[in-house]
Each structure stands twice: as C-alpha cells, then as structure tokens.
Amino acid sequence: MGIRGKINLGFGFIALLLLFSGVVSFVEMGSLGKQTSDLLDQNSRSIELSRRMLDAVQLQNSAVLHALVNGNNEPDYRMAAGQENFESALAEVTAIAAVPGILDSLYSARSAYGKVLEEYFDGHEFRNSSEFIESYSNVYNRFNGAIKEFMIISQAQESEQASLLESNAYRALIPGIISLLASIIIISLFAFFIDLYYTRPLLSLNRATGEFLKHRRPFSVKTEGRDEMHSLAGRVEDIADIARRKNRE
C-alpha cells in the first residue's frame, strides 16, 4: 500500500473510532437521559395521583360532614364527584403500579370506607351519631393512611430506582471511557508510525542531502517499509551517486 493509502486508512480508522465513540456516548447518554426523565415523570405522576386520591377522599369527607350537620340521609354531589375522582385516580395507579401488592391495603381501606358510607346513606340504623362518627373516623383515617402509605412506598421505590440510575450512570460511562481509550491508543500508534515511517526518514534525507551538497559525502537513508518513501530515499541516493560520478569526470 502506498503512502496516500496508508495515511488515508490511518485517518479513516481514527475518524471511525471517534465517530463510534461519539455514537456510543450519544446512545448511552440518551438512554441515561430517558431513564432519568422516566423516573422524574413517574415520580411526579405518583405524587399527582396521590394528591388526586387525597382530594377525592377529602371531597367525600366534606359530603359526609355536610350530611351529618344537616341530618340528611342523601349525600350531595360531592360524594359522587369524590368517588368518581378517586376511582379514576385508582385506575391510573393500578395501571402503573410496578408491584401490584402495594395497592392491596388501599383496596381494602377503600372497601371498608365505602361499606360504612353505604350503610349510613342506605339508612342503616346507627344507634347514634357518635357511633357512626367513631366507625367513620376509623375507616376514614385508615383510608387516608393507606393513600399516604402508598405515596411513601412509591417514593421509596423511586428512590431505589434512583440508586440504580446512579449505578447505570457509572455503567454508561464505561463504554465512553473504553472508546476514548481506544481512540487515544490509535492516535498514539498513528503518531508513532507517521514519525517512524515518514518523519524520521524525511529528516534524515534532508540532513543527508544537506551534507552531500556541502561535502559531497555519500550517504544512505534507512527507511522502514517498502512504500514511496523507500523508493524516494533510494532515488535520492542514486541521484547523489550520479552527481558524484559526474563531478569526478
């Protein structure tokens, strides 16, 4: 292979490896960015859903309080709206829950709460208001607690995922570091070969021809390889020989 081919191929290798390391870094960073963004989305979504569930229960609670104060056995619009909001939030939570088991206590608290409300509004005879308030406050607190517990568990899971993300970030660095190291090795090798095969013979040729012009001293330039540099050195030596012979004549 000639000089041009070798140098072009050398640069080609470097360019490809740099491109490769760029692509690897891009892919890894992109993947890490997506994981981070997913985690943040998941976090804000779980907070939002918990807030919606708490608001919905709050709304139902105000409907119950209103009924109690007014002595009504018919819940107002807030009860239905609260229930609807809660069910819609719960459906979303169920759809995204990574570990289905974490919703068990929420389902159980919801049915207990619903049962007490149903009994009250269906005209179930509580002995007095305080009996209802006692059972209601129990299920209400349990329901609220279950929603808060769900929020805490979700946050703990996201914290675990964040730790995993931290380790993934370290892993994402490795391909980049390896590609970068490979690029450094190839660039160093390229610099070494260019110096050995082209720079050194050229400098030595330059020095030798200078010496020849000054003192007409014969010279020999050592080259590695069999490319144009080798033939150039040989031809310059031949020219010098011819010149010396002519001078003698």
């Binding site: 050398g10 490809l16 490769f20 391909p175 390896i178 490979a182 090795i185 070494f192 070969f193 050995l196």
Partner: protein, 481 residues
C-alpha cells in the same frame, strides 16, 4: 528494539481476540439477543480496530530477535488480558474493574478460578467468551496467532520458544513450522473430540462446548456454580478425567503416539512418572476419603478422590465436591500435586513433572557421588543427556518457584487471611490451578477476597503462566543485551 514489529504481532493477537468476541456476539444473537450482545459487539469492534491498525503500516518480517519475541509474548498476554476485560466491564452485573481483570487473567492464563458469586447469571454469549479466553490462553495466544501468518519458520520458532517451558523444546523432533501446525491441529482435534464425547454423555451441547474449551486448555471455568458437580454424571467425569490427563502430556508426544512414531507417550519416562504420580496420589486420596468416612462407599471415594486429584494435578480446577471438608491428608496431597502438575510442552502450569523428575535424578546422582566421589554421573532425561545449564536452570526454577509461593503467602496473609487460605490461594494462582482451600475453596473460590488480593493473585497467575522468567524479563529489558 523494533517497537513497530512488536505492535504488529500484538495486533494480530488482538485481532484473534476480536474474532472470538464477535463469535460470542453471534452466540448472544442466537440466544435471542441476550444482554451480552451489545457489550461483545462493542468490544469486538474496538479490539479489532486497535489490533488491525498496526497492520496498515508494518509489513511482514523475516527475522525477529529473542528480546523482541519476549516482548511480543509477554505483551500479548498482558494486552489480551486487558482487552479481555471489555466485555465484562461493558456487561456490568457483578463485574467491577478488579473482578473483570481477575476473570480475564484467570481465563487467559488458564487458571480457571472465578471471582463471581453466580456464574449462572451470565448470559450465554458472555459464558462463551469466558470459555474462549481459556481456549485462546491454552494454545498460547502468540503461538496460535503465528499459524495463520504466512511468515517464515524462523520467526515462528523464536516466538514459540518463549511460550513453552525450556524443557519442552528439547523433546520435539519436528521442524518449527510443522510443529506449530501439529500443535494447533491436535488442540482443535482434542477440543472437538471432547465436545462430542461430552455431548454423548448427556451434557447439553452448549455446556459440552464450554467444558471442552476449558478441559483442553486445562483451564477450569465451568458455566455452572457447582462446576462439574452440577451434572452428577459419572460418564462425563470419566471423559473429563481422560482429557484433563491427556492435555497435561507433552503435545508433541501425543502427536507422535497418534502417528505411531517411536518417540511416544509410553516411552517417555517423564510421562510415566507423571501418570504414576497421578495414579498413586488419586489412590491415596481415595483410600483416605474412604477410611475417614468422608464417603461411605468405595465408588464415591474413588470417584471424588480421582476426579479432584486429576483436576488439581493437571491444573484444570474443575470440582465436584467441597474439598475443604476433606481430611487434612487428602488436602495436603492435593496441595503436593498442585506443585508438580503436568508435563512440559502441555498447557498445564506449575513446576512441571519434568523438573520434579530431574530434581529426583539430581538427588540420586548426589547420593551416588557421595558414595563414589570419583564417579562421573551424566544425567539423562528420556535417554537424552542433559546439559549442566539445563539441570542448573531447572533446580534454580524450582527454588525460585518455592520462594515466590512463600513471598506471595506472606503478602496475602499480611492482609489478614489465614495460612491455609493464603498459601493455597497463591499456589493455586501460581500453578494456574484455580480454586484453593480455606476461604478460596471449590464453593466460594475468589468471590469473597478483597480487590487487593485479586490483583496479587493475577500477578502470580501471569508469573506462573509465563514460567516466572518470561514475565520478569519484561521489567529488565533495559539491561538485556
């Protein structure tokens, strides 16, 4: 010294590594693009690019000096080990930098000890790469590389002579170029034959391939946490015992035996000594296991005793029992055979049976000379008179070997390891056996040791694989004339 020539040959070794990484990636692909596919592909591309780069500039060479060949061999081992960590590091899992380096060095030096707690968690592609490091290490990365190179025999012979133990060279009767071909064909043949036989014995094909890579190289990596004990297959164990023993015999002699040459296995006194030691050590261990009630039946005692004796003496390191629980006599015998190991000219590590046999002959000669002070005793090995320089070097090697094991034990016990663990850890690393005893037994191997001890172990693995001086010379190049 011509660094560009060194770069060319190391580059070729890297290209072979890259080829095996890509084959492993194909295996990953065939198993439904498992998690190792991307790490193996990436590693293969990077290793191939770096390995191929020097070939653009540096042409073939007809001559190569001994100093350069030393640099190529030692450089190849180190760089192959370094690039061998890439698939592990990129895959992640249990691998940190130290574990990846340990696993890679353990693979290429055919030591076969693992720093992983759960080998079965690795995907198929990575398991294959891990076994490939054994296979490549077994034949000698450099020697293997030379077969595919259309260069002259002289270059081959110079490189090749560094790779094998000095005693091994005297025994070969073939021309260097032909010899390399013979060795590789034999190695390939043994790998294929052991795969077929293991498959017939009932081992799944993928498992059979991986274990045959391991057994031919006398490596010891298994793809199961319980090693060979997982299969509980007596036929497979007999096949493995046969191939472990065969791989520990001088490859030139195996070829001579197959082709019906005069200089065959049974005529070699070193091989006879090795086989006799192996048999008697196995028998003694089995008897000890039976009479100490470690195993209730003779069958189990013989099966376990012989399997572990062969595994340790051939420096393979496969296991089927927790040898840590064995009686002290058996453990000591296993430690003894871990010093002697197989024959020169094979893929085993350790002091080598040739040197031990020579040492016994020297001992006999010294006693004889004391009785007959004027007698001229000429030491012969396989009927070939040995030069004093060869004998002196062999004795010197044994002394240095023992000293290094002692120094290594001192270093690791200084970190708090107990004596049995520290001593067996260093010996198992230096002799390229694999698991040791104590905290580095057949169950835990090196998964519980600190990164510092892992690093020390890898240094001893390299020292053992390159027969001590091959490795040490690299640091004394400046004074090498």
């Amino acid at each position: 010294m011509r660094y560009h020539i060194i770069a060319r040959y190391i580059g070729i070794v890297l290209l072979i590594n890259a080829a095996f990484m890509l084959v492993s990636a194909v295996i990953s692909f065939s198993y439904g693009v498992d998690t190792a596919f991307y790490p193996l592909l990436l590693s293969g591309i990077i290793t191939g690019a770096i390995g191929g780069f020097p070939l653009i500039f540096v042409g073939r060479t007809q001559s190569i000096s001994t100093k350069e060949s030393y640099c190529i061999v030692v450089g190849s081992w180190l760089i192959a080990c370094l690039f061998g960590t890439f698939p592990y590091l990129l895959w992640g899992g249990e691998f940190d930098v130290f574990t990846a380096w340990f696993e890679s060095v353990s693979g290429f030096t055919t030591t076969g000890s693992t720093a992983l707690t759960d080998v079965e968690a690795l995907p198929h592609g990575l398991l294959f790469w891990r076994s490939s490091t054994h296979w490549l290490g077994g034949i000698g990365v450099v020697m293997f590389a030379l077969v595919i190179l259309p260069v002259m025999g002289r270059t081959k012979m110079t490189l090749y002579s560094v790779e094998l133990s000095p005693l091994a060279r005297d025994n070969y009767k073939y021309r260097a170029q032909k010899l390399v071909r013979i060795l590789v064909s034999l190695y390939l043949g043994m790998t294929v034959l052991s795969t077929v036989l293991l498959r017939i014995s009932g081992m799944p094909f993928f498992d059979a391939v991986n274990h045959s890579f391991s057994v031919t190289a006398t490596g010891g990596f298994s793809i199961k946490n319980a090693s060979i004990g997982f299969y509980d297959n007596a036929v497979a164990e007999i096949i493995l015992i046969f191939f472990m023993t065969l791989s520990s015999i001088h490859f030139g002699l195996i070829f001579a035996t197959i082709t019906g040459k005069h200089n065959n296995i049974l005529r070699s006194e070193v091989t006879r000594f090795f086989l006799a030691t192996l048999f008697f050590a196995g028998l003694l261990v089995s008897i000890n296991l039976f009479f100490t009630d470690t195993y209730q039946s003779w069958g189990e005692a013989l099966r376990n005793g012989f399997f572990h004796t062969v595994s340790n003496m051939t420096t393979t390191g496969f296991s089927r029992a927790q040898t840590n629980l064995w009686p002290s006599f058996s453990i000591l015998l296993l430690i003894f055979v871990m010093f002697q190991c197989g024959c020169a000219g094979s893929t085993t590590g350790g002091i080598k049976s040739d040197r031990v046999w020579l040492a016994l002959k020297v001992l006999k000669a010294k006693i004889m000379q004391q009785q007959h002070p004027n007698a001229v005793v000429r030491l012969k090995l396989n009927n070939i008179p040995q030069d004093d320089s060869v004998i002196n070097f062999a004795m010197f090697f044994i002394v240095v070997y023992l000293l290094l094991v002692l120094v290594g034990t001192l270093i690791v016990t200084a970190t708090g390891l107990d004596l049995l663990t520290g001593f067996s850890l260093i010996l198992a690393s230096m002799s390229n056996v694999g698991p040791g005893f104590g905290a580095v037994d057949t169950v835990n191997e090196f998964s519980q040791v600190t990164p510092f001890i892992k690093t020390i172990s890898t240094i001893f693995m390299l020292l053992g694989r390159l027969e001590i001086f091959g490795f040490v010379q690299l640091f004394l190049l400046k004074w090498w004339r």
